[in-house]
Every structure is written in structure tokens, then in C-alpha cells.
Symmetry: C2
């Protein structure tokens, strides 16, 4: 898929002095091979790659700072790279420059189990973190689809299926170590659970997508592994029934840990992919965390609520293997859909609305997909009012791409009209900059731009993302 701009026009070649300086600093960890540049020039969005001019593998905050200082001296862009799993073109090197790969910064710096906090290097992934802390009795709940790095998750304000109970990276990041645009290193917070000490630099940086600084260390909150976990699934005749059951669950304060919506298309794809026989109807998947008594009580409450909304096939499980069986459908949903139109790429949208408007927003978006004969499925973190449309598109068919873009644009406009947001968890990147203006208005965007100009006066931090300069 093409970009609206010609990236080549925006590049200037890397100065030989800079390359020498970076090679002196990093040795073989500075590379300009085509393969490595190509790998660092794309994420999981469907757009054509935009490779950086060089890739620098950093091992420490001090190395990142030295790289940024060198690039700053030459006014050359720097783009932080974690796992490359972003979805809106966040890491594409629109203006060229140096991709700073933090994936080798994988140290667990300090686990404080007694305080329920951990500090990690930015390249630590969420699965690595949970493996490392398993014996402490704690876990880290935030789970975007990919096994993303903590630095990337902080930079994109990621969330996932547990956010309805545990919050997002916004709520769970206590402190960051950040390399600023001039190479200075700051710490944005402490390990205290709360603070009123000055401007909230942590939250300024969380979600800034590498445009204000490069996150090199992340301190997050952890949670006790629940004494008991149970899962439940049920099917509905209509999307409205499913979503209304969720609304009532949230309104009654049932502390569900997860509640995921799958539309009939998702279930159909999963049945084909996994040889299952789930009813090809809207499906809800729940997970409950707490004491043994509490998860039983939650399941009973939810069973009553969904029954009022005409649910069928309520199935409940507490043993890990049975829970895994119930949730397998969710885990494979993405790959199942990919098989519905082989050779195509998936475009994954993202919006979030107040929960009372969720059914309406999903239904209108579904109708739009149907009217345009799109191969699609709808999956939602519905407890948060957040949902995604996965659309299977032939990237070489301009009309097909335009159709998907239209569906996405109308979905966002619909969400904004319902007092929602243009992205619940994927971020802005290159592709939602105009929606961001539509959502916030030009004056709020000016305030964001003033912050960008103040913290990155040379526009070297991941330029061309979130905001136009």
C-alpha cells in the first residue's frame, strides 16, 4: 500500500561524520545493511516500508543518550524500535535517520515484590516479564495482542484484554527513564504509588510514540496472581444483546477481569481454522479473578445477567485446561481471519466509545462493512467500549484499500460523534493524524504541538508522527 507522501523527498543522507561516530560507539551494532534497514522500516500496519538509513542496537540508557546526542548534533532523526509490532506506522522512517533498536535491552533491573513494582529495560517483552516474575506470586496484566516490549507499550499507551479491570499503561506506569532530544537523561517518577509532585512527565511520555523522547527503562505496577481464575463463554442472537449484557455487568460493578466480544464472522473463521463447532453467533468471553468464592459469585452474577439478554450455551470453567479451551477462540481470532482471504493483508482498526453507545457503533460499522462486501470481523474489549474491525484487503488493489480506508474513516467519525476517541489502544502513528485533529480540535492540537516544539526543537524525535510540525 502506498503512502500519500514520497518519503524519499524528505530524506537527507546520513553525514559520514555521524556514521563514524556511531560506529566508534557501537562497532558492529551499527548496521546499514538493506535487510536490517528493511526490517526496521515496517511495523504490522499494511503500508509500504520506509527504512531508516542506519540501525543502532543499544545496550544501555547511556548508549541511547550518546546516539541521540550524535544525531542531534547533525539534526538527524532517531526512531525508537522495540518489537516492531505497532499498527499505525509508528516506526516507519518517514524522514530517514537512525532506528535505535532497544530489543537487546532485556534486563529485569529491579523486582520489588513487596511493593508490587518492577523496573525493566525497555526491550523486555510482556511475556518475558511474566516468566521472570512468576515465582514471586505476581503478574503484569497488560496484554496487547503482540508480545510487545514494555518500552513500546509505554510509548503507545497500550492496553488489551485485562484493561477493564487493571487499566492500561497510562494507569500502570509509575516511572520512566527517558533520553530527551538533546541526549539528556531524565527520570519521570518514583516508585511511590501516587504523587502530586509537579507536571506528570510520566503521562506526557506515555503515549508520545517516541516523538518527545526515547524510553529506556520502565517501572510498572504488578498485581498478585489471583487465588482463583474462572472463565465463561456464551452466545447471543444479536450483537445488541451481547453488548447490553456487558453494559449491565459493568454498571452493576461486577469486577470482571476480562470481557471480550467476537462477532459471528469471527466465530465462523475460528470454527473453520480450529475445527470447532461454536454457534456462529455473537459470542462473549469472560474471565474472573479473585478468591474462590468471589469468582464463583461473579460467574453466577454474570450468568444471571446474560440470561436476561437471551444468552445461550453459558459454559463456565475453573480448571486451567478448560479455561484455555474456552479462550482458544479468542487467541486464534486474528489468524483465523487471515485464512478467510489468503494472500491478503489485514487492516486492523481501533476506536473506543462510551459503553452506552457501543452496540450502536458496532452495528453501524458492521452494516458499513456488509454494504461494501468487505471480508471482515469485529472483536472488542467491550468492557472498555473499545473494538476493532479486521478487514482483509488486497494491498495491490487500490479500490480495495480505499474501501477499507472509507470504512475506517466513517467508523472514527461515528465514534467521535458519540463522544469517543479515534483510537483506544493502537495510537496515532502516521495514519490517524487527521483524525486526531478532528477529535481534539486545532487549539488542543496547538497545545500538543507547543509541547513537541518545546521538548524537541530540532524535530528529530520520530518526526512525522502524531502531529505535523
Amino acid at each position: 500500500m502506498n503512502h500519500a507522501v514520497d518519503p524519499a523527498a524528505l530524506r537527507k543522507p546520513l553525514p559520514p561524520d555521524l556514521l563514524d561516530r556511531l560506529r566508534h560507539l557501537l562497532g558492529a551494532r551499527l548496521t546499514t545493511t538493506d535487510a536490517m534497514r528493511a526490517h526496521h522500516g515496517r511495523d504490522e500496519s499494511p503500508y509500504d516500508p520506509m527504512p531508516p538509513d542506519a540501525v543502532a542496537f543499544a545496550h544501555s540508557t547511556e548508549e541511547v543518550a550518546a546516539i541521540v546526542r550524535a544525531c542531534s548534533d547533525h539534526a538527524i532523526p532517531v526512531i525508537a524500535f522495540g518489537c516492531g509490532t505497532s499498527l499505525e506506522g509508528h516506526i516507519l522512517a518517514l524522514h530517514g535517520g537512525v532506528s535505535i533498536d532497544l530489543s537487546q535491552m532485556r534486563d529485569i533491573i529491579a523486582l520489588h515484590a513487596e511493593d508490587l513494582t518492577v523496573t525493566v529495560q525497555a526491550g523486555v517483552t510482556r511475556k518475558q516479564l511474566n516468566d521472570a516474575i512468576r515465582t514471586s506470586g505476581l503478574f503484569f496484566p497488560i496484554d496487547p495482542g503482540a508480545d510487545a516490549s514494555l518500552g513500546g507499550m509505554a510509548a503507545t499507551r497500550a492496553s488489551g484484554t485485562n484493561a477493564v479491570r487493571y487499566g492500561t499503561m497510562r494507569e500502570n506506569t509509575l516511572a520512566l527513564t527517558v533520553v530527551m532530544a538533546d541526549g539528556r537523561v531524565i527520570k519521570t517518577g518514583t516508585r511511590a504509588r501516587k504523587s502530586s509532585a509537579g507536571y506528570d512527565l510520566t503521562r506526557v511520555l506515555v503515549g508520545s510514540e517516541g516523538t518527545l523522547g526515547i524510553i529506556t527503562e520502565v517501572t510498572v505496577r504488578l498485581y498478585p496472581q489471583p487465588e482463583a481464575i474462572s472463565a465463561a463463554v456464551c452466545s447471543f442472537d444479536s450483537t445488541a444483546d451481547a453488548v447490553n449484557a456487558v453494559i449491565q455487568t459493568i454498571q452493576l460493578g461486577v469486577p470482571v477481569a476480562r470481557v471480550e466480544f467476537l462477532d459471528a464472522n469471527s466465530v465462523r473463521a475460528i470454527n473453520a481454522h480450529d475445527h470447532l463447532a461454536l454457534p456462529e453467533q455473537p459470542l462473549l468471553l469472560f474471565e474472573f479473578h479473585g478468591s474462590t468464592a468471589s469468582v464463583a459469585e461473579q460467574a453466577t452474577q454474570v450468568k444471571d445477567i446474560v440470561a436476561e439478554h437471551h444468552a445461550t450455551g453459558f459454559d463456565w470453567a475453573t480448571r486451567p485446561e478448560d479455561r484455555s479451551r474456552l479462550w482458544a477462540a479468542r487467541h486464534n481470532a486474528y489468524f483465523a481471519l487471515l485464512q478467510m482471504r489468503p494472500g491478503c493483508r489485514a487492516i486492523t482498526t481501533d476506536c473506543c466509545v462510551p459503553i452506552s453507545r457501543l452496540a450502536e457503533c458496532i452495528l453501524h460499522t458492521r452494516d458499513d462493512c456488509e454494504q461494501h462486501a468487505m471480508i471482515y470481523s469485529i472483536i472488542g474489549h467491550v468492557g472498555d467500549g473499545n473494538f476493532h474491525v479486521l478487514m482483509m484487503v488486497d494491498p495491490d488493489d487500490a479500490a480495495d484499500v480505499a474501501k477499507a480506508d472509507g470504512i475506517n474513516a466513517r467508523m472514527v467519525t461515528r465514534a467521535l460523534g458519540m463522544e469517543g476517541t479515534c483510537t483506544g489502544e493502537h495510537g496515532v502513528g502516521m495514519h490517524k493524524m487527521d483524525f486526531l485533529i478532528e477529535e481534539h480540535g486545532v487549539d488542543a492540537i496547538d497545545a500538543m504541538r507547543a509541547i513537541k516544539h518545546a521538548l524537541d526543537p530540532k524535530n528529530i524525535m520520530n518526526p512525522g508522527k502524531i502531529l505535523r510540525w
Copy 2:
């Protein structure tokens, strides 16, 4: 108590043109009487008042914007005033200027019970809000000691006794309407529960203490009123036992709604004030929210935990009147202490540390108070690692004030050495600016200052607070 600076030296008189313009806009709602200026020149900190040159009572966002535009044209400071209950000199008019009083902006703009959100004008107080929404079945949990305004609570990133379960204003503010330094009005968010759409202007403004913009409307999250509430109290031989019981409660993931620590001095003062006969030992007060079964289970879990830490007199109550009796001690703690040294003023400190360091931090601070023969008590939102020392000081006795300042300074240094913060919930105001530098370091302060300069280039928004220009 005197200030280190002479505020008169920093003032310039209000230009007659500006006064005319404001009078034309507001009529009798613009006042320059000594009494009204004096009232708007002090908060609940013990420092001498610094009155503004005029007080403007606004009724709408548009009026606030017009006032700010007028003041901006003359480079005259503006200071937002809610209820005047801040504790660190936030609203003192160090550079003179116009106090914009928002206390008459008390409309509940939009209650969306189905989405668990409400939007209010900034002058709505937390008790007014809870009264207004009572019949909806929802409540707003954040409860600083005073009946503060929502605008002021957002501006100081307030929290209180429920934060351990429900979070602070940081987590619970969804969106703000803000008048920026040039009079432009921005909305910083939507009613969606989560968003990854651009820089988090909401969190930039929450806790900015009126130095970046004036908050005129606040959208917050609400929670279902719990089906059941229970309360419990128990006493301990030692502070360490009490705090260690709390640590274990948090580590086990018992979802307590509140857990408050009162030292023996607090209990002694309350016994005298309320004619009670509580054991004059460290005391913990718990509150549990949930289903009937869940609160019973939580109380049982906590009873077991505190027993392991040698608690005595565990008393548990579910009926409202019995809960009120148990918690009366906490509600009167502040006033009870005031009576221990009539004619004096209370200086209330604030710090927050990782919970594993809490007992040590409290004990060293207690020893410091004892060594200096201070009349004091220690009260803590201990589930968060947050505590306060209330010190009774003769404001006209410089040595007494210096003693309190020393205890406070050493407490903050101690907290910072434990990876804590100089203020958990009171904010920086005029009095913690040096501690803020100590906590964050000059480079992070420079980043904050860059944001301040970018958003308020004339330094008219509550100048002299949080940061030096």
C-alpha cells in the same frame, strides 16, 4: 508565618483599562474590596496571606476565557480559586493579579449513569456531586479531607482515603475543559474510558496547579455504589506491626476500599475530643466494598492477617451507624489534634513511599518529632504508602516554625531516599519547589519548565508555583 520573599516587590498595579474591561464583563462580580481580596489570598497552609489585586467571579467557561484574554493582553497574573482548601500556598497571589473564583460554577452538566461518567463545572464540590448523583446508584470516590471543588481536585491531583481501591484524580479524570494562557478553550479528552489519541493533555493539566491553564469543566469516572460496605478497626502494639499488616493485605490482593493508619497521638487526641476510650495505640481502620459475601470474606481475610501481626480489639461492622461509629475517630482526627495546643496552627506534611519502606519512614519521622518535642500526630493512607504529619505550631514563634520546617524537610529527604515522592496528594504550591528539584533532578525540571514556557509564554498562569520561571 512569613514568606522568604517580599511579595510586594513582585507586584505591578492592575492597569485601569484592565479593571474597566473586567467590570464591563462582570459588573459587581468583579471586586477589589480588602475583605474579598484577603479571603482569596490564603489557603489552609499556615503562611501569611498574599491577596490578589482583584477577584473575578466567573459563571462560565466563556467568562473565564474573556478574563484570561484581558489579563493576557496586560500580562497580568491569573489565579484560579475553587474552595481555598489547598495546603501548600497554591492560591496565594505572589505576583498579585486577578483571582478567578470558580465557586459559582456549580452546574452538573451531564450525568451519564449508563457510562459511569459525569461532567461538571469546576466549582462543583465532591459532596455536592455525590448528593446530586445519589439516586443514580453511583458515587464518586475521591475524598480529600476538605469538601474541595472538582476543578481544584483536578488541578492538585487530589486523592484521599479511597485511592487504594479507586485511584486518584490522575486515574479518574477522563477529560477537562481548560482555558489556556492566551484565552483559547480546549477540551483535553472524550468520554471514552481509554484512549491512545495523542499527547495526554488531560494528565498534563491534572496536577498542574493552575500554572498551565484554568480548568473550567471536569469529566470524571463514577462507580456503582457497593451492594455492601463493611468497616473494621483494630489496635497494635507497634507502628511496625500495623504497617506490616497493611503491606501483607495489599500483597495478598485483598481489594480493600480504604485502610487508614492513626498513630497513638491521634487516638489520644480523639479520645479527649470525642470522649472515647480507644486503646491509645496505633490503630488501623478498614473499609470493604463489594457484594455481601465478598465484604464478609475480605473482613475475614483481614482479621486473619492482622491477628498474625498481634492486633487486638478487632471490631467489624456492616450497619451504617456502626460503621460511622468506627470511622468517627478518623473523621475527627484533624480537629481533635487542633485542640491539643489551642491558638496554634496545624502544619500538615505529605509524602509517599513504596509500601515496603513505610514503617521505617513513619518511625524515623516519629522519632524526629519526639526529639524536637513537637506536638504532632501521624495519619496515613497507608495502603498507598502515603502519610501525613500534623504539627501544631505557633505561627508567631520563628523557632517553632523552623522546627516544623526541619522535620518536614528531613521527612521529604527520607522519603526521596526510599524512592518515594515529596508529595503524595497535596501538591507543590509555593513550599515544595526545592523538594521538587531534589526529587526529579534539574534535567527533568527543565523538561517541566519547557512545557510551562511553551504553554504560558508570558508567565501569567499562577506564577511562582511548582517551578521558578
